[in-house]
Amino acid sequence: MSSAVAKRYAKSLSELAHDEGCLEDVAKDLHSLRTLLKESEELSAALGNPSIPMAERAAVMAAVLGKAKVHRITKNFVSLLLDNNRLSALSGIVDAFEKYYDERIGRVRARVCSAAPLDKDTLAELERHLLEVTGKKQVLLETEVDPDLVGGIVTHVGDLVFDGSIRTQLSLLQNKLLSQESAAQA
């Protein structure tokens, strides 16, 4: 499914959920559902298998949603995806929905990558700075540890990148030395 179609589904769902006053619930439901389908490959394969009759797939999905106790709108939306054979696009729809959701509640997501795990104080301070930088009401930090950075932190927030990693410093040093070398050659 193209991202345009995923965006249309996500936008319609977010508007409906907003009108119904259950935007946060639906967002949580979709996040949980995506996590569930990612973790359970068998379930994901069965729901996307066209050789299994639609009624059986709908029954499986209804059972899953019933156990997860999702909101009515979420249940209806997933049923719609199943009917339209669009369940494979759920991940993209959830991504697009989260963007709409973040925009509506004034939240921004920041992906924080560090060479070593960061403590709470550091993350709190980083969140405070990012709130000031972005001017948003809320910053959602998604942390990740990457030893390849050698040292330091890299944060992606929207189109902004704050790069304080040793790997990038080394890369810059290498580029600087190469450009000096090129200038000397010229």
Binding site: S114, H129, F162, L170, S171
Partner: protein, 193 residues
């Protein structure tokens, strides 16, 4: 020939025949030369010749006149041909006389052309050789520059890789804390701007 003229010729021929026959009869007499008969023969011959001359005078005159014109024309043509041949001969003779000079001039021109062409070829060859030499020098210099550049780039990449390895082993918890503090300071600085 006209009919009147034809009748005239026939009558005269008949008269001539009568005369001849009478003379022949007269000659049939005794021995010794008969001068009278001989005289008659001469007379007959003269009359015949005179008659022929009288009859043929006009056609013969016309013929002779025409023949004279033809001969004259032939003479004129041969004269003009001769004049032309003489002129041609003189021309050829003159050309033959100048032939050696022309050959010398031609040879001289050919030698001059060959000399200038040889010089031009030499110059072009020198230029081409110079260009080839320059191109070869440039190529060698470019190859050297490229090799040096690649060598230095490899050296720089190797140095950076070594530095990364050293840092990876030498960066400790305190260093990470310091790096984090620096980072937060920079992000905070950016937030205040």
């Amino acid at each position: 020939m006209k009919p009147a003229k034809l009748l005239q010729v026939v009558l005269i021929t008949a008269l001539f025949s009568v005369v001849l026959s009478s003379s022949a009869l007269a000659a049939g007499g005794g021995g010794g030369p008969d001068f009278t008969a001989l005289l008659r023969h001469f007379l007959n011959l003269a009359i015949l010749l005179g008659f022929l001359g009288w009859v043929l005078r006009r056609p013969l005159g016309d013929f002779l006149q025409r023949r004279r014109y033809e001969v004259k024309e032939a003479l004129d043509e041969s004269w003009s041909a001769r004049t032309e041949a003489e002129a041609r001969y003189k021309e050829i003779e003159a050309r033959i006389e100048n032939f050696e000079a022309e050959i010398e001039t031609l040879m001289s021109d050919v030698k001059a052309d060959a000399s200038s062409e040889r010089k031009a070829i030499d110059e072009r060859a020198h230029q081409a050789a110079g260009q080839l030499e320059s191109a070869a020098k440039r190529s060698v210099e470019e190859e050297l520059r490229r090799a040096r550049r690649e060598l230095r780039e490899e050296a720089i990449a190797l140095a950076v890789t070594l530095a990364e390895g050293l840092l990876r082993n030498s960066v400790k918890e305190d260093d990470q804390k310091r790096l984090t503090a620096d980072y937060l300071g920079k992000v905070g600085e950016a937030s205040r701007q």
